[in-house]
Symmetry: C2
């Protein structure tokens, strides 16, 4: 029985990594569609979301079944509950990529507002965060997971900077407004993708160490002690 | 032992309702701060988010402890996993209220752009969705939970309408831009609050009926059959 359970956990892990791979594809395609002005690719992101949604339900059912039938404790319990959360974050990342693709389709109806530099950079950071948070999950690497969480501030700052710049474009010419607002919203979506990667990082730390770093509770506790 | 477990579940339910009450306060205060142009109240929303964050961790720990020590099955297992998800949605609702409060502080630096009508209406709808989803949870009312999920489209449409209207304000006069963008973002935050209420509704249906209505899977299955 023990061996069988190990196998089930391995299957769960594989399914979750399949989910992660779809979510990562979704992000990178949505960004590529934006930078290459590729309408077909944007549509592809939107169309393939169903697959992620169905896989989310499947992973969820596996987790609930394992909880019910195997009644795991300690490390295994933390692994399964982390998988449930990560699954939900990945599904949301898929949704956010769809949002980016929808905004991109909107943007493609007009000529390019300006060469995109900061947004692809932000996309790269967010994408790397998702990738690393999943690597941390696979390798049970709490240090890498913690590092991912720390990078969230950089993305937030970049988003703020993009927002300020786009405001100046809007001020310059009313013709810029629709496209600027679309780009502001795309920036927000990216920022939220990074937030979900941070959630995944926090869950990995919890899974490995059995204690939470959510809401910087550790830092607060340390501050309380000094 | 059975009795003791029932008591623990009741405690969990109470903690979650305490969390819900804080989240609901956060939404209503953030909206009141916006409509009444009340800087102090907006600041209060921001300051009180820590309390929600700490409670989230507490509820999570209770759930994990119950899963580990009681090894629940069937109905109880679905209740605890639903509680974990709802807990996470409530925490996000708290965050979104903070986002609304931050945008409000921004808005209060300038005079009123226009009388706010649709945004408070949208806020009312979203707030009612959160309230009803929690009532559905307390009363194990799958019908009400399902009804909450159906209302999400109305909020989305209203948000789209607000977005279009604010674009016209931006076009009219560059002086309107900053405030319009703030209101666009507030609209988005509301829409996401409604999304989280929808998630809660879906979890309640799952908890009561043991089958998912996520991603309208039921409708799709039915369509497949015809």
């Amino acid at each position: 029985m023990e061996r069988h359970f190990d196998e089930e956990l391995r299957e769960l892990k594989e399914k979750l990594l399949q989910m992660a791979s779809l979510a990562e594809d979704s992000i990178s395609r949505s960004i590529k569609a934006l930078t290459d002005r590729d309408k077909k690719l944007a549509q592809k992101v939107i169309d393939s979301d169903d697959e992620i949604n169905m896989l989310e339900i499947e992973v969820d059912e596996i987790c609930l079944k394992l909880l019910a039938l195997r009644q795991p404790i300690a490390k295994d319990l933390r692994f399964i509950t982390a998988a449930m959360r990560i699954n939900s974050d990945l599904e949301r990342i898929g949704d956010l990529s769809v949002n980016i693709a929808e905004r991109t389709l909107d943007l493609l109806q007009e000529p390019l507002l300006k060469p995109l530099i900061d947004i692809p950079r932000m996309a790269q950071l967010a994408q790397k965060m998702v990738k690393d948070s999943l690597n941390a999950f696979v390798n049970r690497d709490a240090e890498l997971a913690h590092d991912v969480c720390c990078r969230d501030d950089e993305v937030d700052q970049l988003n703020h900077q993009i927002f300020r710049e786009l405001l100046t474009y809007m001020f310059q010419d009313p013709k810029n407004i629709t496209r600027s607002v679309d780009l502001v919203l795309i920036g927000r979506h990216m920022e939220r993708i990074a937030d979900h990667a941070t959630n995944i990082g926090e869950d990995v730390v919890y899974m490995v160490k059995g204690k939470t770093i959510k809401h910087h509770i550790q830092e607060k506790e340390n501050r309380g002690k000094t």
